[in-house]
């Protein structure tokens, strides 16, 4: 939907301008289809649950999701007992009756525990780049679902880049340095990723084929893991999406009927005038 709209808006270049400009050049995002896309798209909750497992096992050590609470996991189809168990697995900070700082097992009403005490700690532990919170990541990036999907699979061996890719990479370097002869070079501690703006990302490759084993036996190659993860992150970004679309269908149908009636009334009233 978003894609169609962006394309449709090309005629309204005025409106589409910011979206296009923010997209930037570089490598095209990988194309795939997510079930939640389109005006009537819904979440694939099996994928969302698998994606939560990927997040929990591979991302949560560095990336917070501070806007989510464990109780929210009920919405992706986990049972109350499962949610309680997930929450209880985590120790959260609290203050006891006597005012002392303690750690207690989490409850469903607790927010997802953040891996770092604060932003400075996160920065210090991660080579100076603090891992962004993932609660809204899909909404916070242009074409966010496809972006995260591509980013997970964008780690590559720089030496294998084609001549055309090279040209794009050198273009980045030229823009960054202002030097027309500059060529692309990696900074230390960075990783080459064709889908990250500037192509150098602090995060080492987080996901590889077979990294997570699903209990339901779903295949676990990198594209599948990435897609499941994105399904989870998309749900986390907008848990009310299905409610929004469902309400929307009813509202639009109602408005069409009302508009039709209003038009008929207007025609009747004006019939004698011209």
């Amino acid at each position: 939907m978003r894609k169609i709209l962006t394309r449709g808006a090309l005629t309204l270049a005025f409106l589409a301008g910011p979206a296009l400009a923010a997209g930037g050049g570089g490598f095209k995002l990988l194309d795939t289809h997510f079930k939640f896309e389109g005006p009537l798209g819904t979440y694939d909750y099996a994928a969302v649950q698998r994606g939560f497992q990927v997040y929990k096992e591979k991302c949560a050590a560095c990336h917070s999701m501070s806007l989510l609470s464990y109780r929210n996991l009920r919405d992706i189809g986990l049972s109350e007992a499962a949610v309680k168990a997930i929450a209880a697995d985590v120790m959260v900070d609290d203050i006891d009756d006597k005012g002392a700082k303690v750690e207690r097992p989490g409850r469903p009403s607790d927010r997802f525990r953040s891996p770092f005490a604060n932003e400075a700690a996160a920065r210090a532990a991660n080579n100076g780049a603090s891992p962004p919170d993932l609660s809204l990541i899909v909404k916070a990036r242009v074409d966010g679902a496809r972006y995260v999907y591509s980013l997970m699979q964008g780690y590559d061996d720089m030496a294998k880049a084609s001549a055309a890719d090279r040209a794009i990479m050198d273009g980045y370097a030229k823009k960054a340095t202002g030097d027309a002869k500059a060529t692309f070079a990696m900074a230390t501690g960075r990783n080459f990723n064709t889908h990250f703006p500037g192509m150098q990302i602090a995060m080492p490759q987080p996901l590889r084929d077979g990294d997570v084993t699903y209990v339901d036996g779903t295949k676990n190659d990198l594209p599948q893991l990435s897609k499941d993860l994105v399904s989870f992150l998309a749900w986390a970004s907008e848990p009310k999406m299905e409610e929004r679309k469902n309400t929307g269908v009813k509202v639009i149908i109602f408005m069409l009927i009302l508009a039709g009636l209003m038009y008929a009334v207007k025609r009747k009233v004006w019939a004698g005038v011209h």
Binding site: A13, F14, G17, A140, I252, M255, A259
Partner: protein, 410 residues
Amino acid sequence: MSSSQGAPAFTNPIVKWIDRRLPIFTFMHHEYGVFPTPRNFNYWWSFGGIAMVMLITMIVTGIVLAMNYTPHVDFAFDSVERIMRDVNYGWLLRYLHVNGASFFFIAVFIHIFRGLYYGSYKNPRELLWILGVVILLLMMATAFMGYVLPWGQMSFWGATVITNLFSALPVIGDPIVTLLWGGFSVDNPTLNRFFSLHYLLPFVIVGVVVLHVTAMHVAGSNNPIGIDPKGPQDTLPFSPYYVTKDGFAVVAFLLVYLAFVFFAPDFFGEPENYVKADRLVTPPHIVPEWYFLPFYAILRAVPDKLGGVLAMFGAILVLFVLPWLDTARVRSARFRPIYKWFFWLLVVDCFVLGYCGANPPEGYFIPLSRVATLYYFAHFLVILPVLGKIERPLPLPNSIAESVLGGARK
């Protein structure tokens, strides 16, 4: 369906009792019931009423949102997300409000360009027009401050950039910016006062709208052929004719608005604003909301800081004197064969400015935005005054009734 101006005879005793002491029913009857309205309005005339509906929508959704919003830099972003996730129908209220701002501006921009095309700002409606420009200015201030409240990246950096505009003023610039911020950067005091003003200004807008509508009821509405009604045959009572026509227009407009609310709620938004404000990192590409883009382009088109700021404010201020810049006596562009073309050129020019404002100021956007800025001012300051003198208008019809019933409609 009589259109007589006499006091209506109310039958309901309560209505009667109230009306004798406070004639609100008589007032409504005169101003909205039998009010003689030109019979030839097209749908472009519905956008005033549509804008009113949007204003009410914004106020009602805003009041409920304010009940759940926390104007503090540490909590603002999270409180907005709490509205999106935990408050019952909070997502709907917020999407209505966010998209409502865009659709309010769409309605008002169409309303303004309708006024430009049909010469609605001319004698005796100069003050009516000026009040409208005041409303536009208030809307811009309100929208700007509202955009700061979610405390995302664009909120913070938009606030920083726009408040810094005032630093361009010589001598008083920096003290003014400090005063606006209540500190040495955009911070908690800034957020608090913006919230306070964002809540207040809509009610000021309502006040000016009342004046705007009152002035309109004194002079009467302009109409597509721009000649005054000469008698009852030229007008229709507002009710039921325009109640039903505007009613249909409102529903149709809301239909489009709601389609965005439910199916593309983030279309007008920036992904960057879903990132919490970070005062150490400026997003690579800051853009204001789309309705500010033409003005933003004018700001950047002038290669001088103070000059850019003056040009940007000038782009709105010039509208205040428009009634005296346009020297043509004929109102409607239907009878102004040359002006008609310049009007559409101005529309295109505004879109070009918007396009420039949305893109980074580099490459061909720089000369393009400069040409478009020059043309914008030339339209008002050169073309309109000169055109009025040299253009030969088409013959005007004798009356509205003749033009409507004679079938010679364009």
